[in-house]
Amino acid sequence: MKKLILAAAALALTAGMGMAQTIRMGTEGAYPPYNFINDAGEVDGFERELGDELCKRAKLDCTWVTNDWDSIIPNLVSGNYDTIMAGMSITPEREQVIAFSQNYTPPADSAYAALSADADIEAGVIAAQTGTIQAAHVAETGATLLEFATGDETIAAVKNGEADAVFADKDFLAPSVAESNGELVWAGEAVALGGGIGIGMRQSDTDLKKTFDTAIQSMKDDGSLNEMIVKWFGEDAKVFE
C-alpha cells in the first residue's frame, strides 16, 4: 500500500513537470483593492484578476503566495516565488535590484487623506507604508515620516490621531475615504509618483519578463486591461490612452 502511494506520488510529481511551467506569484495580500485576502481566505483583487488573465494568455500555470511587504523583494531574489504583483511602482531604485515588466497601470496619483482638509501636510506627521515610493516622497518633504508595515495601519494611525495625514496611492485610499462618512477627507494636492505599476521579477529571468511583457501588451491592445482598471478602481481611474 505504502509503495503504491509512493509510486502514485512520484508519478504525480513527474507528470507535473511535463505540464506548463509553474509560476509562483508573490503578493502582499493587504492592499485593497489591488490585492487582498478575501473572506474566503484567498488572494483577491485587481492584481489577482489581472495576474490570472496574464497567466492564461501566456499559458503559464500560476499559484499565488503572500509575503509581507517588508521582505517582498528579498524573498523574490532568493527564489521563494517568481513574480511580485503587489501594487509596486516602477522606480529607478528598485530597478537596480529587480527587473520590471512594462507597467500594467499608468503612473497613478498618490494623495493625502486626513481628518480635515487643512491638515498640515507640509510640516506635520505623515503616515506611510515602509519602503513605498510615498514614504520616500514624505522623507523628502519637510514633514515627519511615520512608517508602518501595512497600508491598513497607516489609515488607522490617522483615525486615532497618531498621524496628521496618511500618504498613499489614491486608489488605495479612495474606498476608505468614501466609506468613512466624512471622517476622512482628502488634504492637499495629489502627487504623481513613479512610472506606473509593473510586475517585479528577478533580473536573471529574462524569458519570463518577455512573456509577461507580451501578455500585458496584448491586454493593452485589446482594451481589456483598461476595462479591468475601471472595474476595480472606478470610472475616474487613469487608464491607458
Partner: protein
C-alpha cells in the same frame, strides 16, 4: 459556510456576526491556533532532545564531543533569538537548495549570483509545482528546527547544571555497588536530575510559549498574522466590512496566551511535587514532613 451567509451584506446583528465569525478567513484563523499548538508539541520534545544531547556532550570525556557541546550552548545562547530565527531558516533553505543543485541540476553553477539566489527548477525546495501545503509544511519545519536549536541550547545548559547538582554521594554509592559509568548515568544520575532541572525547564517552556508569535516573523500565517489581517478596517471590497477591530483580535490572543501559561503553571506545579518526592531537596523535605499523602 452556512446557506444563510450567501449574501452577507443583507445580514444584520447576531446573524451577521455568526456568519462573520465562520467565514473562510476566520476558519483559517482558528486553524492557526492549531499551528501554534503543533509547534509547541513538536518543538518541546525536540528541544529537550537537543538539550539532552548538548548536556551529555558537554559532560563527555571525549574532548571534541565536549567542545562541540560547549560551543553549541555558548554560541546559541550568546546570539539574540531573533537573529537566530532569521538566520537558521534562510541558511538551511539555501544550504539544502545548494546541495540539491549539485546533485540534480544538469550543469550546476554557484547559486549565489549578484544579489540573487538561483537554482535550477529541479533543485528548488520545495518544487514550484508542489501544492501550497508542501510549501507551508516546509516553512513550518524550518521554523521548528530554528526553535529547537535555540531552545535546545538553553535546555542543554539547564540539564548540564542539573546533572552537576545531583549529590556526588549518590553517584559514589552507585559506583561502590560496582555499577559501570553508563549504569550510574542511567540508573542514578538521569532519574534524579529531573527535579533539579524542572524549574529551569519550566521557565524555558513558558518562554517557548511566549516566543511562538515569532512564527509571524518567519512568514508563517500564525495567529498574530491572522489577527492583524482580520482586525484591520475592511472596506466594501470585502464581504464583511467593519472598522478597525484589531483591539478585539489582539485581546483574544492575549486571553489565549494567558490561558496557555495558566494551564502550564498548574501542570508544572503538579509535576514538581511529584518529582520532589523522596528527594534530598527542600521540596522533598517539605513533602516528607507533611506526611504520607
Amino acid at each position: 459556510m452556512f446557506a444563510q451567509c450567501a449574501d452577507p451584506k443583507a445580514l444584520e446583528g447576531l446573524s451577521w456576526l455568526m456568519c462573520y465569525l465562520t467565514s473562510g478567513k476566520h476558519l483559517l484563523f482558528y486553524a492557526s491556533f492549531g499551528t501554534v499548538l503543533l509547534l509547541l508539541a513538536v518543538t518541546a520534545p525536540l528541544a529537550l532532545l537537543f538539550g539532552f544531547g548538548g548536556a551529555m556532550a558537554s559532560r563527555s570525556r571525549i574532548a571534541p564531543l565536549r567542545w562541540f557541546g560547549k560551543i553549541y550552548t555558548a554560541m546559541v545562547r550568546g546570539v539574540p533569538d531573533i537573529i537566530f530565527f532569521l538566520f537558521v531558516p534562510i541558511a538551511l533553505d539555501q544550504g539544502i537548495e545548494f546541495l540539491r543543485s549539485r546533485a540534480l541540476c544538469d550543469n550546476p553553477v554557484s547559486p549565489w549570483q549578484g544579489n540573487e539566489f538561483n537554482v535550477c527548477a529541479a533543485a528548488k525546495m520545495p518544487l514550484s509545482t508542489s501544492p501550497e501545503w508542501v510549501h507551508e509544511g516546509y516553512g513550518f519545519t524550518l521554523a521548528v528546527v530554528a526553535f529547537s536549536v535555540v531552545f535546545g541550547a538553553f535546555a542543554a545548559n539547564v540539564l548540564y547544571g542539573a546533572m552537576n547538582a545531583v549529590p556526588r554521594a549518590q553517584l559514589e554509592t552507585a559506583e561502590a555497588y560496582g555499577m559501570s559509568q553508563r549504569q550510574v548515568n542511567r540508573r542514578v544520575l538521569i532519574p534524579q536530575m529531573w527535579t533539579y532541572a524542572l524549574p529551569g525547564l519550566s521557565n524555558l517552556w513558558m518562554i517557548l510559549i511566549k516566543a511562538t508569535p515569532l512564527l509571524f516573523l518567519l512568514g508563517i500565517q500564525d495567529i498574530v498574522y491572522w489577527a492583524r489581517d482580520l482586525g484591520g478596517a475592511k472596506t466594501q471590497a470585502f464581504s464583511y466590512p467593519h472598522p478597525d477591530w484589531r483591539l478585539y483580535y489582539f485581546l483574544a490572543i492575549l486571553v489565549f496566551y494567558l490561558l496557555m501559561t495558566w494551564v502550564s503553571e498548574r501542570v508544572l506545579a503538579r509535576l514538581t511535587r511529584r518529582l520532589s518526592a523522596g528527594q534530598a531537596t527542600m521540596g522533598g523535605e517539605a513533602l516528607r514532613q507533611a506526611g504520607p499523602a
